[in-house]
Symmetry: C2
Subunit: 319 residues, 2 copies
């Protein structure tokens, strides 16, 4: 399987982010908030968003003590939004592990999310550049807007695709972009540099989510912790399905996606695998290329190479 | 009925806070977030917390453009926490109006709360003193901790009273204190001045919540928008009940509070009215006196007088 191989110095700094994230999540007075906060924050995430912030800072003046706050904030925000997203979706599991509201209850999940958001706000206040709070608060607002904007129909193609792009732009790409911008601002970048890294993060985030949605159809059930086609079963319309419907000449797939019949679902999943995966991959690849092109304003550097490795990883990952 | 009579200049500034709060809540792209955000933000709140921030700033260098951000933030945070509190309690109504999750749905309520918290974070970043973010983010964390710490039992008295104080300190007093501290920090107060106003706000907040809990037993149903004794019906243990149980020699009240029998409930509510209201009022009065004593470090001024009027209003209000 494709692995991310970061240099030892970056890994050491990511471990420090990890330590600080978990330390921050210890509530002074609530045992359940400490437990549930640590549970979600140590649930096998790759700290990809923190790595983006650290690497973005390396395009400028890199001091871990400066960028640490942006990197910590983005991981706290990410964890909070996962807990609230699972609560809205009533999801029982994430990556194979039971969700916070399943392990505890709805009230705990709601409050732990709020607590982590507030922790993130306090953390951002320590960052060296006040714009960082603006980047992250706007990203959270965007995540909320996207959460309430589902993809409504698989056809017509252009509408479905536009709704899908809006959705994943809000849900995933906005926070990737904010992580990169906050990192570069922590590294004292110019506005042009901050914007370039924001664009890189945004396209990388789009590709990341498209791959996530592809893996939902073709991934290994053991690696993903959920059966193939979960999105289709839950009525969630994603890019592979939109492409498959568009490629399906006799329109039987579009007519059948609300079916709850197991045989029918198995057939629909196979149709998406046959017709929708390849064009979705091609689209993800385009966004990766676009993401990398935003870095052209920077000379070659180890940080730029590592962002390239992350981009390749996003495209080739299996979970 | 007791009314707050603020001077015209303060009312004008509060109207500006009101305008900014509602303007901020307009989502660029989500109709439902705009609608639900404005709904909760214009649901008859007194902007008491904003008034505290403005008046606190008047002990120092008062510029509306400086303190506006603290005043706006505290109202956004208050609204967000009401929406999430109602969601946890599954409350159908607040002050007679249907709650956000009842009028829309759970997902909308969850996201509108998150959105308002994020708006508040962005707003705080505009404030002139970076400590303001810390005050508010810690207040939000405290609210979350309190939300998950119910008063478990009515006896023994000391335990019940301590749990109740912890609960209302988290739920109400912490944000009152943060509003005062953020106001004074916006007015360039010294640490001693900020701490004094924080202590004023904390004791005022305790009294405010005790009066709220008294009104739940004796208030006018039409003014409150809910029948008398709602807390008892919902199993929520508050100070009037704790005092009534302690004063009830033969312990029948303590044994009966989990009853769902209507006659029994009516009897229990009458017992609380007979035995619990007066000592709870006396306690609220003590906190008001204590709150005012924290202002002794300041010379007499219009701002100090207005805080005195707010304190009197908190004690004498009927809704």
């Amino acid at each position: 399987m494709k692995q991310l191989n970061f240099p030892p110095a970056l890994l050491t700094d990511l471990q420090e982010v990890d330590r600080v994230v978990l330390e921050r999540a210890s509530s002074r007075s609530s045992v359940v908030i400490s437990a549930a906060g640590k549970y979600i924050l140590s649930s096998g995430g790759k700290r990809l968003r923190a790595a983006l912030a650290l690497l973005a800072a390396q395009f400028g003046v890199y001091r871990l003590s400066d960028v640490l706050h942006a990197a910590t904030s983005v991981e706290l925000i990410h964890a909070a939004s996962l807990v609230h997203d699972d609560l809205i979706d009533e999801a029982e599991r994430r990556r194979g592990a039971v969700t916070v509201h399943t392990r505890w209850d709805h009230g705990v999940a709601l409050m732990v999310g709020d607590y982590l958001f507030a922790l993130a706000a306090g953390e951002m206040a320590l960052a060296p550049d006040p714009r960082i709070i603006t980047y992250f608060s706007q990203a959270v607002m965007t995540i909320c807007e996207g959460e309430l904007a589902p993809v409504m129909n698989v056809i017509p193609f252009a509408t479905a695709r536009n709704q899908y792009y809006y959705k994943i732009g809000c849900k995933t790409a906005a926070l990737f972009a904010a992580a990169c911008k906050a990192g570069m601002a922590s590294g004292q970048g110019t506005q042009e540099q901050i914007d370039a890294l924001g664009s890189f993060g945004y396209d990388l985030g789009l590709a990341f989510q498209i791959i996530d949605d592809i893996l939902d159809f073709i991934g290994d059930e053991k690696l993903l912790g959920k059966p193939a086609g979960s999105d289709l079963r839950n009525g969630t319309i994603t890019l592979p399905l939109i492409y498959a419907v568009a490629a399906d000449d006799d329109a039987t797939l579009a007519a059948s996606i609300d079916s709850r019949d197991e045989d029918h679902l198995a057939w629909a999943i196979a149709e998406v695998q046959r017709l929708g995966i390849e064009p979705a991959y091609a689209t993800a690849r385009q966004h990766i290329d676009l993401a990398l092109s935003h870095l052209d304003i920077f000379p070659d550097s180890p940080a730029r190479q590592h962002l390239g490795e992350i981009a390749a990883f996003v495209l080739e990952r299996e979970q």
